[in-house]
Amino acid sequence: MNNTTTKRNTTDIVKAGLAKRYARERRFKLMGVAAVSISMAFLAFLLISIFAKGLPAFQTTYIKLDITLEKKSLGLPEEPTAIEISRARYDKSIKKALLAQFPDVTKRKEKRMLYQFVSSYASRQVADALVADPTLLDTTASLWVLADDEVAALARQADYTLEKKDKQTEITRARIEELKAENRIETRFNWLFFQRGDSREPEAAGIKGAIMGSFYTLIVTLVLSFPIGVAAAVYLEEFAPKNKLTDIIEVNINNLAAVPSIVYGLLGVAVFINFFHLPRSAPLVGGIVLSLMTLPTIIIASRAALKSVPPSIADAALALGASKIQTITHHVLPLAMPGILTGTIIGMAQALGESAPLLMIGMVAFIVDVPTGITDPATVLPVQVYLWSDSPERAFTERTSAAIMVLLIFLIAMNALAVLLRKQFERRW
């Protein structure tokens, strides 16, 4: 009797508390869901704002002009070489073509405004067209040239009523309508963005210089940090005696991974530029500095990968008469390789997104020519983002977001590769 009451009591207590416990569990789950949704919301906000801002940068506007190209007025000889054609200035011919297109413009101030209708890169485009087809000389050629960024922005807008009205934009709009009626204005995909280096004209600015700069910098980083990192990890894991010294080294490596990257930049400028006189702004120095930064990451990841290879494999190899080095190169290292590569790729992805140390060694610079080697002046993707965000022209805001998109795509690709390697080759024992 007594026994059953207590039994019932316990059940009662449990039952009475059950609702509370369920509620507590629900709250806990809810908090988790809230945390996840808040971070997802931030991510979505970031991505949506970048994509919404950046997408216009992938479109560009061209205008067809009838440009009269007389050798005489261009200062070209009767039989001009390709180099002479390339070096001639075509700004005047383009201005004349614009005036011919809009003959009602006569006042000096209005003319100046009209001349800003096409990009200053148009001169280069005409030169390129002539180099490709010199027979166009001494004719009036219909050529598509790049429009100015502000014209492009207006031409893209379908709804004019949203914008504030001022006289100059009204005139520009009227001209765009006029060109549209004659099929002389066209919006195309912005291939130039992927073909050119930096420029002060937003419509002619491209990301290729920064992509190549990042590529050369990462090559240097990889070539230096991968072999050094793996060698250090193999030594520390397989050969090094366990003593005070190796303990100190291990603690130091772990701490180095947490050192702010700008410190490596300061080191880079003091050692590599001021002492070794390596060139400023070069991917060579950038790569060395970034490899200092990624080395700890690679060493730590490689050691973890080496450690996860079961000792029985090494023991078996040794028992069958393999030397220590054979055991490592034939068995341990290949089995650890997926882990090592994953760590390396993650380190590389970190290096790709880094800009602070590069500030110190002069890679934050205006560089037009696409770099062709590791000692050419270069800039990298995150730095290009920073530089464009700082430019006064409004169209650079779009370019900034577009550059962020390119950077994100590279980062996602590298991380996806790391995941793939892990999934594909990693073995669990």
């Binding site: 070096r87 001022d166 002060r200 070539v223 590569l341 205006f366 080697g373 050419d376 965000s389 409004r394």
Partner: protein, 347 residues
């Protein structure tokens, strides 16, 4: 797999190092972030002709540029430094001591500093004195005694009763910026000097005068908004009560978002800055190492491009970017000096 990839990478590494081991064949430019938007346009045009490589330009700030420029002569130092103020005596001496003896000074034009607010709000009419009283850290005691008191003002109407009764909130550049230096020198000092006894202080105790007249308040009414002028423009269009301080070129590019305040009766426009009537404008310079001419390919041609009438003239492409050109006489005088590579002297 990793072996061959490594071999390719190593070959690339060695190959490029060898081919580029020879001397520098591009111009290196450092210096002011105010001159940067102009210098980069010139550099790009210069490079487009294909004859020479495009110069490399780093925005290090005027002071940082001078430091690099004066660190020595030789191809591993910059050829040119841009500056939004004249070279200081101390910097010139340091240059001389480090073997940078002959320096060619080029004054290229002017840049105005705009004090602007959102177009949603009313355009303000300010005087240098209003700005000084609103933004200085310490101001002369309002009761008339010859002492300084910490700035007591929180509303514009307290500074000058013709101004609106809104909170003093000014977004401006941090102390590292050349724009801030120019603002302190032109606006704060300009307003400071209008008080007679403070003006006398300049003659008697220069360092106290400078400390008093160049310090910006730090109690939240002046907000350091970073070096990014675009950010200031964006913040202004979001907050119609705030004022912002930035270069004229940014005002010109964003005229649909922000408007320049009238200062001492002058609106910041191309014309008022060019004729010197707008009080807040500053000179833009660059400095060239004469010893590098002939050593670095294209240096003379770059100078020629910069001082060409199509570049820095009244109808030149730099004026499209917001630079205010020099007078005709000044241009021809400096143009000749540059063509002859006449070294500067400190006087």
């Amino acid at each position: 797999m990793s072996k061959s990839a490594f071999a390719i990478a190593a070959a690339l590494f060695v190959g490029t190092t060898v081919t580029h081991a020879a001397g520098r064949n591009h111009i290196e430019i450092v210096g002011s972030s105010t001159v940067y938007p102009f210098a980069t346009v010139v550099a790009e045009r210069f490079g487009q002709s294909g004859e020479f490589k495009t110069p490399k330009i780093e925005a290090t700030g005027s002071g940082g540029g001078m430091k690099l420029f004066c660190s020595g002569a030789g191809v591993n130092t910059p050829d040119i430094t841009n500056s939004s103020r004249r070279i200081k005596e101390s910097e010139f001496d340091k240059c001389q001591a480090n073997g940078v003896v002959d320096i060619v000074e080029v004054l290229i034009g002017f840049d105005g500093i705009a004090i602007a607010n959102s177009v949603e709000a009313d355009q303000l009419t300010l005087s240098l004195s209003d700005l000084y009283l609103a933004l200085a850290k310490d101001i002369p005691n309002p009761d008339g005694s010859e002492t300084f008191v910490p700035n007591p003002y929180t509303l514009w109407s307290e500074v000058n009763n013709t101004l609106p009764a809104s909170k003093i909130e000014v977004l401006g550049p941090p102390p590292t910026s050349g724009t801030r230096d120019a603002f302190a020198e032109l606006v704060l000092e300009g307003g400071c000097k209008q008080v007679d006894w403070v003006k006398d202080l300049k003659a008697s105790d220069k360092s106290t005068f400078k400390a008093r007249c160049h310090s910006v308040r730090e109690d939240g009414h002046y907000v350091e908004a970073g070096e990014n002028d675009n950010l200031i423009v964006q913040k202004l269009s979001a907050n119609s009560n705030a004022l912002g301080i930035f270069g004229y070129s940014f005002l010109e590019e964003n005229e649909d978002l922000v408007q320049g305040s009238i200062i001492d009766g002058q609106e910041p426009t191309f014309e008022t800055i060019a004729d010197g009537s707008y009080p807040v404008s500053r000179p833009l310079y660059f400095y060239v190492k004469k010893a590098h001419m002939g050593q670095i390919p294209g240096l003379e041609q770059y100078l020629a491009e910069f001082t060409h009438e199509d570049t820095w003239g009244e109808e030149g492409y730099l004026t499209d970017k917001g630079m205010i050109p020099l007078s005709d006489e000044k241009r021809s005088e400096i143009g000749t000096a540059v063509a002859n590579a006449t070294p500067m002297t400190m006087d």
